[in-house]
């Protein structure tokens, strides 16, 4: 298989990350670290009730408390675990699905390509978030259902990008060489094409995780989140009730959400430029 490797198009040259990418890494890093190290950063229980209700940020409660006296700082940190977790899993699900569809469609061409792209188009035109709301209301809201619904509704963009790349690569000599070497379709897809679209897969993953976190916050904001595992979207929904009394309940969880999504988007943009 050395022939395959020799004829593979050159990898993008490693470049110094731009300022934007560095900011993206920093923002994402802070939020991820906060969510992972939550028990080290606060001793408060995100679900534990307290006597101090709707208290503005103080030394004891750095982000204030909500209407049941729960510590907002703990809720934002632990809420990050829920939001990031759902974002990660539904983002990955959508990328795996999208990459599979895109690679098969681009490689196979013909009728199969036509059919797959028609289906992709249907999912792309359908209002994704509204469809997610309808499905989750009917099948019931749980973390698993949220991940499945968001993941399975968000793959079309990835599929289209990957299909386009595979169509370009399909005609190149290293694929013909692999074919002549007797490689099966599956082997060509896995060993020859996947490594060559991997940069695109990384970019998609980053952007899809960001988009999944926003989709989750949308569902939670409409009351379809899991109240036992409050995500940032759920915190914002609760904040809406006390918008005029307690500014911290909406402002602070929203900043955490915005930092994450902006960070992941900057990272995705940076990766796509580094592709060269």
């Amino acid at each position: 298989m050395s022939v395959t490797i020799a004829l593979r198009p050159p990898w993008p040259r490693p470049r110094l990350p731009s300022v934007a990418t560095a900011v993206g890494v920093l923002l994402t890093g802070i939020v991820v670290a906060g969510a992972i190290c939550a028990p080290l950063l606060t001793s408060a229980d995100p679900l534990g009730l307290g006597g101090d209700i709707l208290s503005a940020p103080t030394r004891l409660h750095p982000m204030g408390t909500d209407d049941l006296g729960r510590d907002l700082f703990a809720r934002v940190l632990y809420g990050g675990r829920v939001s990031l977790g759902i974002g990660l899993f539904s983002g990955l699900l959508s990328v795996v699905f999208g990459v599979s569809v895109g690679m098969v469609a681009g490689f196979a061409g013909g009728v199969l390509d036509e059919v797959l792209m028609r289906v992709t188009e249907i999912f792309q035109v359908m209002p994704k978030l509204l469809a997610a709301v309808v499905v989750v209301s009917l099948v019931g809201s749980s973390l698993t259902n949220e991940v499945l619904v968001i993941g399975l509704l968000s793959w079309p963009a990835t599929a289209r990008v990957i299909r386009g790349r595979v169509q370009v690569l399909r005609g190149q000599e290293f694929i013909a060489a692999a074919r002549m070497g007797g490689a099966s379709h599956l082997r060509i897809l896995w060993r020859n094409l996947l490594p060559n679209v991997f940069a695109y897969v990384l970019v998609s993953t980053s952007l899809q995780i960001a988009s999944a976190i926003v989709s989750e916050s949308f569902l939670s904001f409409l009351g379809l989140g899991d109240p036992g595992h409050p995500s940032w979207g759920l915190l914002l929904q609760q904040g809406q009730l006390f918008l005029q009394q307690a500014w911290w309940l909406t402002t602070l969880p929203g900043i955490a959400l915005a930092m994450t999504v902006l960070g992941m988007n900057l990272l995705g943009d940076g990766l796509s430029k580094g592709r060269g």
Partner: protein, 324 residues
Amino acid sequence: MTRVIVRLLLRRLIGAVPLVFAVVALTFFVIRLAPGDPAVILAGEAPTPEFLAQVRAENGLDKPVWQQFLTFLGHAATGDFGRSIYAGRPVFDVILERVPATALLAGTAMLLASVAGVLLGVASAKRAGTTGDAAISALSLLGTSVPSFWIGQLLILLFAVWLGWLPVSGMVAPRARYVGFAHIWDVAIHMILPVTTLAVYLVTLIARFTRTAMIEAMSQDFILVTRAKGVSARAILWHHAFRNAVVTTITVIGLEFGAVLAGAVVVEIVFGWPGLGRLFYDAIYRRDFPLLTGSFMFSALVVIAMNTLSEIACAMLDPRLRDG
């Protein structure tokens, strides 16, 4: 010319049929997929046995699944989306009542966002690579990153709660009962914040895509030719480059209409705007599933229509897109 347009219209409309069919089919299967008896889902909680039997008969739920699907399809095709459990009236009527408020909100937001997005995108492309361009790009990334309901909440905190310049929520001042011009003014005041909130996402998205399309158009040879002929920079930008970039802008607006409607749902909740989004939200809370699925189908059909319209507009603007 007219024949080309008519053929184009027909082809795009026929192309939309499978999409409409897919949306209706998907809605049907989601109702079937839900745990429990579909008759109970359609009739609401704790129905009388007679009403349950009536719902079962109306929707053919005692027949095989494929017959049920045909019944559902037939109903949807004639505008019969079922009966709202809460309102006790046909879903379609309930939806139509709410359309004007959402159309006013979303229409204004889209109009303003298109103008602002194009201006920003073109301005950014004109100075590609400068600090100004970077600043616009960074702002657009931020605008597409944050959820619109949070932007709405921040705007309320700033302009309604702290500064007290604008009303917190609603479409009209409660109990004021203005008429004539005073009423229009009242609605306009109430529209400022929700329209801004809804427009932010679109402005930034349109600006990003317009910028890329403009940079691409400006690098073409015909731009070099017009420049060599001594055409003014302004004419090159708007007459020659933008005419090529506008197709991208229109396509983005068409494709993102679904996101605009989803944005309208949360914006209407944040601002207590009495439109379709608010209806959608109430349907979730009251577990009014016929209303929920009906609103979804209605929204999806509007999205498909907008998409088809944008495709037709693109083909009319750019002869290269009139394939065949």
